[in-house]
Symmetry: C2
Subunit: 350 residues, 2 copies
């Protein structure tokens, strides 16, 4: 782990996620993409086709965010999960598109909630077309996802994704309530990310077993894989918001800090800090009274208490559970690619 | 029709909706309520039960708007439609709750979009808890509606309400695009209200036939009844926004005018006006450059061209179609109550 300084002071800690591990090829999504790429092309075409509307602004705005450089990790998980279950039909294409529509709707509503200006280096839809349009196009996409599921005809898949959708909304509300609350517990933080992020990861994976008509135990194994992967993914995301690696993502560093969002690196730093440090977190995150040097101070406190390192440690724990869930399935290239996806989510430095 | 003057000048036109008709008892929702009241109590209980969440803010915020004095006209339509179809089971209770959840979600998102401060005389949820919470609780309610529909288990009902939900979002986006556009045509206005309002009225009615397992022709008759009733309802709503009767609703007069919303009374006044009048509408509604006297001027222009009267005339036309759709069903107290609902929607002066 090393630290970058700018003229303003320390601005970022570079997390070395490989610390203490043997050097190995950097894990990536390449294997997953190689296995699902043909299907993913079809998913992308389905997305373009199904976001059409006689109201031009809808595909324009939705297309802006959908084409905005996302990794499509959630629909790829659906595609890989169906492959892992030996499915040979075509239903997974549209269902993977549904998963991406639900994800996109939450991004659109998140950007309104966060008043974000940038997502992956691009201006957000709410900046370009206003909050109103972002809210309504999000509503359209979620409704369109349900239309497609109805067309698919599986009540079980409708149940899984309707549940995920309700849980995501609950998680987002809970996150809103914890914002600026430095006393937020690690338990509550875990509840937030399990709901807002992991619920869709688990649903995306679980429907793979349902489409393939596999036994309940396989559906549950995929659910567990997805849920634990999603938790690990979000933990690392929250650590990266304080890491220099973010800069290459087009995201500015310290977005969560500026908003007073309470993520695990902060939860731990607050708990482990002394009275002076807690006063610092309360001023900067609860009262949002910030001066430019505060981010550097925040980073040094996180470094002092090892909270970024430990956030990644927590992610490793969930990654390990995800890997064991996967062990339920026979080994092979799909299981390997999903296993590498866990490593990627934990070690990502893109 | 007569006009009310205040110190600022003319402030409202009192629409006499009975003009040219024989005096008769004022139509109300009383008969509909008498027929569906017991069921509606159960619907209200189901709403309270089903909006529960481990995140307290969700039932609190949702409860604020759901308890905020709405007439429950949409769920009452579902209840009456099932009764008209001779249904004797219990499924209609939760389905009527779904309809109200979808409606409530659109209200929550509308208030964010319109930046409204008041709804039915109460502070809106976005003022009390912020736009963010309103967006997210709206998302929760729509997801919860789909969860309940999945539990009910009818793919046909899921299809009807998923379609309605997508069409509503399209209509809201289209309305956003017509805001401040004085050149909006009557056709486009009709497209907006058919989508944003009539789609849910028609779906609420149609599902009555589906629950009762009645033939397609009855589903279509109820769909037509609901759609035309919804159009009439919205036309009158848009006229009432320029009418003194609104004051008793806790709504201020001229909200649409202040926002530059282009409704039929304006569409017609713009088309029928001369160059000076069009310049007035462009200044006040397109550029939103308004002084306090402008609302009075707007009202006098609408009066000169009879645009409120003609908006109500258009509503009567759709009301007549709704009545003929209803004629498909055997006469009786339910058909009578639904027929009176048409009259109520056109003549309402509450």
């Amino acid at each position: 782990m090393y630290t970058i300084f700018s003229e303003e002071g320390r601005v970022a800690i570079v997390l070395s996620l490989e610390e203490g591990r043997n050097p190995s090829p950097k894990p990536s999504l390449d294997s997953l993409l190689a296995l699902t790429g043909d299907d993913l092309d079809q998913v992308n075409q389905a997305i373009l086709r199904r976001m059409e509307s006689r109201v031009d602004l809808i595909p324009k705005l939705a297309g802006h965010i959908i084409a905005g450089g996302g990794k499509r990790i959630r629909p790829m998980l659906t595609l890989a999960a169906t492959k892992l279950c030996g499915y040979a039909g075509q239903r997974h294409i549209l269902l993977a598109a549904c998963v991406e529509f639900i994800h996109t709707a939450t991004l659109l509503h998140d950007d309104v909630v966060d008043e974000s200006d940038l997502r992956r280096g691009n201006a957000t839809a709410n900046v370009l077309w206003g909050n109103e349009a972002s809210v309504l196009v999000g509503d359209f996409l979620i409704s369109r996802a349900f239309q497609i599921m109805v067309e698919d005809g599986s009540l079980e898949i409708l149940r899984i994704l309707a549940n995920a959708s309700a849980v995501i909304a609950e998680g987002e509300v809970l996150q809103l309530l914890t914002a600026n609350d430095t006393a937020t517990s690690e338990d509550t933080y875990m509840e937030v990310i399990t709901a807002k992020t992991a619920a869709l990861f688990s649903a995306a994976c679980r429907i793979g077993a349902v489409v393939a008509d596999r036994p309940k135990a396989e559906a549950e194994a995929l659910d567990s894989f997805g849920r634990n992967l999603g938790i690990a993914f979000q933990l690392v995301d929250d650590a990266l918001d304080y890491s220099a690696r973010q800069a290459t993502l087009g995201k500015s560093i310290g977005d969560d800090f500026k908003e007073g969002k309470i993520t695990l690196p902060v939860v731990l730093a607050y708990r482990r800090g002394d009275a002076t440090e807690r006063a610092f977190w309360e001023r900067t995150l609860a009262r949002l009274e910030q001066v430019p040097e505060d981010l550097a101070t925040a980073l040094s406190l996180m470094e002092r208490h090892g909270t970024l390192r430990d956030t990644i440690e927590r992610a490793r724990h969930y990654g390990a559970i995800a890997r064991d869930a996967l062990a339920f399935f026979p080994p092979g290239p799909v299981a390997d690619a999903l296993s590498e996806t866990i490593d990627f989510c934990i070690h990502r430095a893109y």
